[in-house]
């Protein structure tokens, strides 16, 4: 199965481990990923707030236009990118006036988008295209006994509500976790916002939001969190130390991308699980499974 891939900026930097684990896992499942050539930033959750939705969506549409000729579904890892790409794509399909206007702008760069593609979140593609059975079958190292809090985050399920999961009580990520042999603990905060967009401007918001999420994960007995969202991963993982300092708590919950967990379960080589990028060490949690440095 072939996909175009839109990595998004964070996968080149703060979320390197996402890309590094996605590629081998995809390959292991027979998904061929083809990066959109010379893709540009989607504008994240910010551009609209400066130049408005239309300009941002046109900016995003450039990527769609670049991908269209291949005619492949576009796989998006980052939740913000998924929101912008998904909403823009939807608008091209639903709103003829918008499409006309947007193409007028794209024409300046000699581009055009006809709204023929599908934009897919990774979890969506894994569960609905590949399927849980095929994933189960691929598991070489069942994650038996590993208690995982599946942290879906906000935009991945709410950008396009009911596109592939319940926007408030999502289930697919947990199913994926269970397919790997791990135990998905009950996790009421699984779709709560980590406050990411305030990470730089008003860090305390992130700390506060993320602390609640960590607390919920711990109180439900999770030894690890997994997420499909680079911002969630960054905040829960990188800011955990600051959270402990600020609230003098002692959380030590490693946070992996779902693809990293899959790499482990598929027993792929260490660089595929890319654990060295974890700031909160995952090795203690993974020790029972025989995963070491």
């Amino acid at each position: 199965m072939r996909y175009s891939v839109y990595p998004g900026c964070s996968l080149e930097a703060t979320a390197l481990s996402y890309m590094k684990s996605l590629e081998p896992v995809a390959e292991a499942l027979g998904m061929h990923l083809e990066e959109i050539p010379d893709w540009n930033c989607c504008g994240a959750s910010v551009a609209s707030g400066v130049v408005g939705d239309f300009a941002q969506q046109v900016m995003t549409a450039r990527n769609l236009a670049l991908a269209e000729e291949k005619g492949l579904d576009i796989l998006v890892a980052c939740s913000s990118c998924y929101m912008n790409m998904g909403l823009t794509n939807k608008r091209f399909k639903d709103d003829a006036h918008f499409a006309k206007l947007a193409n007028e702008a794209l024409a300046v760069g000699g581009l055009k988008y006809n709204g023929t593609l599908r934009v897919r979140q990774i979890v969506d593609a894994l569960v609905n295209d590949i399927g849980l059975d095929k994933i189960k079958a691929r598991v070489k190292r069942p994650l038996t006994g590993l208690k995982v809090a599946g942290y879906v985050g906000c935009q991945t399920v709410r950008a396009l509500p009911w596109e592939y999961d319940d926007p408030e009580r999502p289930v697919l990520l947990d199913q994926l976790v269970e397919a790997l042999g791990a135990t998905a603990v009950p996790f009421p905060m699984k779709a709560r916002c980590c406050g990411s967009s305030h990470a730089i401007a008003q860090t305390e918001i992130v700390l506060d939001c993320s602390r609640e999420i960590l607390e919920s994960a711990r109180s439900n007995g999770a030894s690890m969190m997994v997420t499909p969202c680079p911002m969630c991963q960054l905040n829960i993982d990188a800011y955990q130390g600051m959270i402990n300092k600020t609230y003098n708590t002692n959380y030590a919950i490693p946070t992996l991308f779902i693809t990293q967990l899959m790499a482990i379960a598929f027993d792929l080589p260490p660089e595929a699980s890319a654990l060295k990028y974890c700031i909160v060490s995952p090795y203690e949690a993974l020790a029972p499974l025989g995963v070491g440095k």
């Binding site: 319940d166 926007p167 408030e168 009580r169 009421p188």
Partner: protein
Amino acid sequence: MVNNTILVVGGGISGLTTAIEASEVGCEVILVEKNAYLGGKVTQINQYFPKLCPPNCGLEINFKRIKNNPKIKCYTMAEVENISGQEGDFDVTIKINPRYVNENCTACGKCAEACPVERSNDFNYGLDKTKAIYLPHEFAFPAKYVIDPKACAGSGCTKCADVCQYGAIEPAMEAKTVTIKVGSVVWATGWNPYDASKISCYGFGVYPNVISNVMMERMAAVNGPTKGKIVRPSDGKEIKNIAFIQCAGSRDENHIHACSSVCCMASLKQVTYVREQYPDAKIAVYYIDIRARGKHEDFYVKVQNEMNAVFIKGKAGEIKEDPATNDLIVIAEDQINQVLTEEKYDLVVLATGMQPATALSKVPAAMSYDEDGFLASDPASPGIYGAGCVSKPADVAAAVQDATAAALRAIQSVRRRNNG
């Protein structure tokens, strides 16, 4: 040749009314009901607002009117599969599902005593169980037992048949299809409570103590699963603190767009149920607008003055559960006091709205519908008319009024054709 028979589809309060009113004008009427009994949703209601009187009282009169009236022919467990032809001359195919109990049944009840298996009781929204062979409820009309084939132990077990002295049990009974000719059709298949599990933020179906208003009606009814005692489903505990959440799925672009028009009065009524059983319970009602139209305002005023309930202007946004106690925390914006409130309750009742039956199963004829699936008021097919809650969200009085009007339209329809 014009056929003067009127077909009424749906034996709830609207269908019953249309059928009876038309027959008392002198028309031949065929009434088709998919359940094993007539009366539909109102049989599951404890009391009507604002009089707080039992629906069975009016139903008893209506059933008496049917008993005294040879012009009405009733099919229960039946569904209309196809309508063809035109006004004055319709051919209708009706599928009659097997009851597995024939007309010999005297409702003596021996069979149920003997039956070894149980089924979840849909009449009480799954809050209790019946045997696989059961009388839907005490007042069931016709008073005949019925077997749930999904629950029945099947050919291996003949216990009920063995004890029945009247040869009433027919395990081999099969669905049959009959075709009838009628002059006009009134579609009155009514409504269903909106599936509250679609409103993710309220956790219906996830939190045991979040129930819907229709479940509340059963709990408050003496012939209900708790013999009329209002308690927590999770542990059967008494109620100290209860919340009613209005517009749970109504007035909502993500669910039913229209206002369901009855939920406000229904919740006010249910406040009186709770207050009667729990003089000291805390009762809160979360609302956007209280829609007690016309003289119903009196009831609203009465509840405000006498029931000691708190009315919170602000749609309840979210329900959280304490997994240890199954207590619920309702978060809302109290807009009058301009504060966010997080209140704890041991039972939460969702005022789930009315979804027309036609949203899920359409009329097998060319009809037009509105955005929620209600039958549009000007029918695309002449000779076929909607009545009651398939046409609009309505309380009982309004549904009966509409159904009475539908009877006249159906009569006109056949007489108009007679005039040629």
